[in-house]
């Protein structure tokens, strides 16, 4: 259920992009970066994306998700560490709390891959 809403948000954002394209190309792949420290479960997102895009401009488009680990930076230790999600977030060396997050909060649409049609991408719609 959570991913249903996240997918809806993703589709709205992609539609905004797609509608701004001069030739509205058929989308083949959508590349996402999803951090481990977000509310998104990639497998559920894949499923929801497939179901929700049927019959839309994204029908058949493949969702490629790259996960990024949770990496924090401890200021007292001047070092990065990997918190154990669900268990321990403080620095394992000095017990300082989770402060700066260097990776893991990403929810990003990196790129969209599409096949160029015979018309050049910048030519006006006839």
């Amino acid at each position: 259920m959570h991913e249903t809403d996240m997918t809806k948000a993703l589709v709205i954002t992609l539609r905004d992009w797609w509608e701004s394209q001069p030739d509205r190309p058929p989308v083949e792949k959508v590349f996402l970066t999803v951090g481990k420290f977000t509310c998104v479960e990639p497998a559920s997102l894949q499923f929801a994306f497939e179901v929700q895009t049927r019959g839309t401009f994204l029908d058949g488009a493949e969702l490629v998700i790259q996960e990024t680990p949770l990496i924090a930076f401890c200021h007292p230790c001047q070092a990065e560490y990997r918190p154990e999600i669900g268990q321990q977030y403080a620095c394992p060396t000095c017990r300082s709390p989770l402060d700066d997050i260097r990776s893991g909060r990403e929810l990003k649409i990196d790129r969209v891959q599409y096949a160029q049609t015979a018309r050049s991408p910048n030519s006006p719609i006839p």
Partner: protein, 229 residues
């Protein structure tokens, strides 16, 4: 010709929601309204806290509530007796309020009431510790509630919510003596994830701690920019 084109977007998945949140925020700021977003699991006591808050503060503050509920208006009806504008938003199957839904609530507020006279809009989100954390609605501060009956490890299991919170209210502390619960451990677990959070233990039933919460609300009305942790 079949040439594969890569278009770099580099935009946030929640870009559309964030635009909506920024739009809402512009309205709040133009009207001089502080907006706070109350979030918790179902049954942590958001509505009970709101009832006490409205009863205590409506004499000196002009408050309004945007109430998110999946299907009913039960919570909204509980709050209407305090004689403040209560805008109910049925989210249907969506498990959180998003910026667009709250924009609808703001539209109703601006149509039926005088928003420039309001000091604060309190958004009561749908009971859920997952999604509301990621969907901003244009609030100045996020307030999370965690009841003592939920266990000390909740912040560890739902870290994004507790990381995002500016304020954590530990609720139902009147029950603490009857439970095997360690309030200090709840606070320590939250601070492990979010060292800058303001923690206020409260009981809507006994009234314990509410004065501190009311003080926070008053200070948020005066300087909304200081409410974020």
């Amino acid at each position: 010709m079949h040439q594969i084109i890569d278009d770099t977007l580099g935009i946030n998945l929640l870009h559309a929601n964030q635009e909506g949140a920024d739009h809402n925020r512009t309205h709040f700021d133009a009207w001089g309204i502080t907006c706070i977003n109350l979030m918790s699991s179902p049954g942590a006591g958001k509505t009970a806290l709101l009832e006490k808050t409205l009863a205590a503060l409506t004499t000196d503050l002009n408050l309004a509530v945007i109430e998110g509920d999946m299907t009913t208006e039960l919570d909204a009806d509980r709050l209407r007796q305090y004689d403040v504008p209560v805008i109910a938003i049925n989210t249907g199957r969506a498990c959180h309020l998003d910026a667009r839904m709250v924009a609808g609530g703001i539209h109703t507020l601006s149509h039926d009431y005088a928003p420039q006279d309001l000091d604060m809009v309190i958004v009561e989100n749908v009971g859920n510790l997952v999604c509301p954390a990621e969907f901003g609605v244009g609030e100045h501060a996020k307030v999370a509630l965690l009841s003592v009956t939920e266990g000390e490890d909740k912040p560890l299991k739902y870290p994004v919510m507790f990381r995002e919170a500016d304020v954590l209210l530990i609720t139902k502390i009147d029950l603490a003596p009857y439970l095997d619960v360690d309030l200090a451990l709840i606070e320590a677990n939250v601070r492990q994830i979010n060292p800058h959070v303001t923690v206020i233990p409260v009981s809507a039933k006994s009234g314990e701690g509410l004065a501190l919460w009311f003080d926070w609300v008053r200070s948020a009305v005066k300087s909304p920019e200081l409410t974020s942790a």
